[in-house]
């Protein structure tokens, strides 16, 4: 019988031998950069068309006087984080994590927060130089170290959700304080030099009410209707989950503009069917829409519900197949996510492992 050392050698040499079979003279890099340049030119054209609807004369003048910029692969702009959410009451919005919710200034961005446990933790956030709400997710490969025993004064205030720190306050110097409180099974941490702001944010932390804090697995879709159809779309929500141990934890929740919800439902209706099956998933999103039932019998519930389930690992969207019942499964595409991948979604969710995912989510990190 062949021993392990011999097997190792055979495997190594066998792969080395086969690696020589491949033709490496193909212009693979040139094809890739050409594709990037084509995509960038399409993006510039779309952007200019959108601006033209607002200020046509200004755009035409700009085109005639300014040559197109050279395309530099090192300078591809990141997609802007668009806020298309309701639930912002004036200057404040509500953030959701696991079993808690907290109110934060509506202008704050979304970032990462220290991950892991122990005295030294990894932090991979892109937006540390402006006020943000952070979650323990990896937004970037350029990571740093956070020392629990020696926290530094940050360049801008932050709120961290779900970072396991001991409740209490830490003096960061120059009037800055970091304070952590426990709410339910989670923690909320605020660092700022504004005492009133810190008090208001922490005072708003409470048990969450928008989405279930945990799910055993991807939700089942549903699509309720009646003979008369559905009434008005009253409101919609987005609840996003990531694998956490044996089940899934809520990492983001938000109300969703009803116009965007309609767009999402329409995009899923128009998408191509697929029948891919996966053993497991690591991230999924539930878009829930609530309609009025204008013809409900007296005393009966006057609401109809539709849930769409987006599986980022498996690459499909599952919807209820009304009125016949059952489930319809379609391809997860840019068109199906564009209506709801707004607000905090691009900075919190990894998304599917596809090239277009980087326009709507963090994307696969190296």
């Amino acid at each position: 019988m062949t021993d392990d050392t011999e097997l190792d050698r055979l495997m190594r040499e066998g792969l080395e031998r086969r690696a020589g079979d491949v033709d490496v003279a193909v212009p693979i890099a040139e094809r890739a950069t050409a594709a990037v340049r084509r995509r960038h030119r399409r993006g510039l054209i779309v952007g200019l068309a959108a601006a033209a609807s607002v200020a046509v004369v200004a755009v035409i003048a700009a085109l005639s006087s300014t040559p197109p910029p050279p395309v530099d692969p090192d300078d591809i702009p990141a997609p802007a984080i668009e806020t298309g959410v309701t639930g912002e009451t004036g200057e404040w919005r509500t953030e959701y994590w696991a079993d808690i919710q907290v109110d934060v200034p509506a202008s704050w961005s979304w970032g990462g927060a220290p991950m892991g446990r122990g005295e030294q933790r990894t932090t991979c956030t892109e937006l540390a130089d402006r006020p943000y709400v952070g979650r323990p997710v990896s937004q970037t490969d350029a990571c740093g170290t956070y020392r629990v025993d020696a926290p530094e004064r940050p360049p801008a205030p932050y709120v961290w959700l779900g970072v396991p720190l001991e409740p209490g306050t830490v003096d960061l110097g120059a009037g800055w304080t970091q304070e952590t409180v426990r709410v339910g099974d989670s923690t909320v941490t605020v660092a700022t030099d504004d005492v009133d702001l810190r008090s208001r944010i922490l005072g708003s932390a409470r048990a969450a009410s928008l989405c279930p804090a945990r799910m055993p697995g991807p939700a089942e879709p549903r699509s309720e209707t009646t003979e008369e159809g559905v009434g008005d779309l009253l409101f919609a929500t987005v609840c996003a989950y990531q694998a956490d141990g044996n089940d899934f934890a809520l990492v983001y929740g938000s109300d969703l503009d009803t116009g965007r919800a309609r767009g999402a439902i329409a995009a899923a209706d128009a998408a191509a069917g697929n029948d891919v099956r996966c053993k497991s998933t690591s991230e999924f999103v539930v878009l829930s829409a609530t309609f009025s039932d204008d013809f409900a019998a007296s005393g009966a519930p006057r609401r109809l519900y539709q849930d769409l389930v987006y599986d980022h690992t498996c690459g499909h969207v599952r919807t209820g197949a009304a009125p016949s019942g059952g489930v319809r499964q379609v391809d997860l595409t840019a068109d199906t996510v564009a209506p709801w991948a707004v607000g905090g979604v691009p900075g919190i969710l990894r998304g599917p492992s596809t090239p277009w995912a980087y326009d709507y989510f963090i994307g696969v990190q190296g």
């Binding site: 055979l10 495997m11 792969l15 086969r18 079979d21 490496v24 950069t33 090192d74 996966c278």
Partner: protein, 175 residues
């Protein structure tokens, strides 16, 4: 067709995408070929990964190891393609340059390696290539495949078990 091992020239600490890809493209193609088993699939996977890397180069080049970043995207692209295609039977690896009538023992065993790899699920195959061709440690393999380290070890162990079985079958048929 390049069959030699080329030492990469030294690069500045923050190379441009064009400089980096000029040095690394061949090695990435070889890696993708071993992971996918096909010239065509390897070119597709590498092109997709390079498009992503090019668009994100400002971020990618800051990483400790841009190669690891791109290798991960190649593996992810291949695994995603495999799931979408729902291949029910194992992918058949291209066997080139092998004469079935060639009695040379080493070539016969090399064919066995390729047959075994061709029959592995994509993530297992990727783990084998990362271990035996890229010489990564199990912790690095686990991080790249986004699995636990024991899972990475299990992938490789199963592949070696399959190779042992294939070699024993081969010896029995030779007798």
């Amino acid at each position: 067709m390049d069959v030699g091992v080329t030492e990469p020239r030294s690069m500045p600490s923050s190379p441009s995408f064009d400089d980096w890809v000029e040095v690394r493209a061949a090695a990435l193609l070889r890696f993708a070929y071993l992971v996918t088993g096909s010239q065509h699939a390897a070119e597709d996977a590498v092109q997709s990964a390079l498009e992503l890397a090019c668009r994100k180069w400002t971020r990618v080049r800051r990483a400790d190891d841009p190669d690891a970043y791109v290798r991960r995207m190649i593996v992810n692209e291949h695994v995603s393609d495999w799931r979408r295609a729902r291949r029910k039977e194992s992918p058949v690896a291209e066997v080139r340059g092998a004469d079935p009538a060639d009695p040379a023992d080493e070539i016969s065993r090399s064919d066995a390696v390729w047959r075994v790899c061709g029959g592995l699920p994509p993530q297992q195959r990727a783990a084998v290539v990362l271990r035996y061709y890229e010489d990564l440690e199990y912790a690095e393999i686990a991080a790249l495949l986004d699995v636990a380290e024991p899972t990475a070890r299990s992938h490789v162990h199963r592949a070696l078990t399959a190779l042992r079985g294939e070699l024993e079958r081969q010896e029995r048929s030779d007798d």
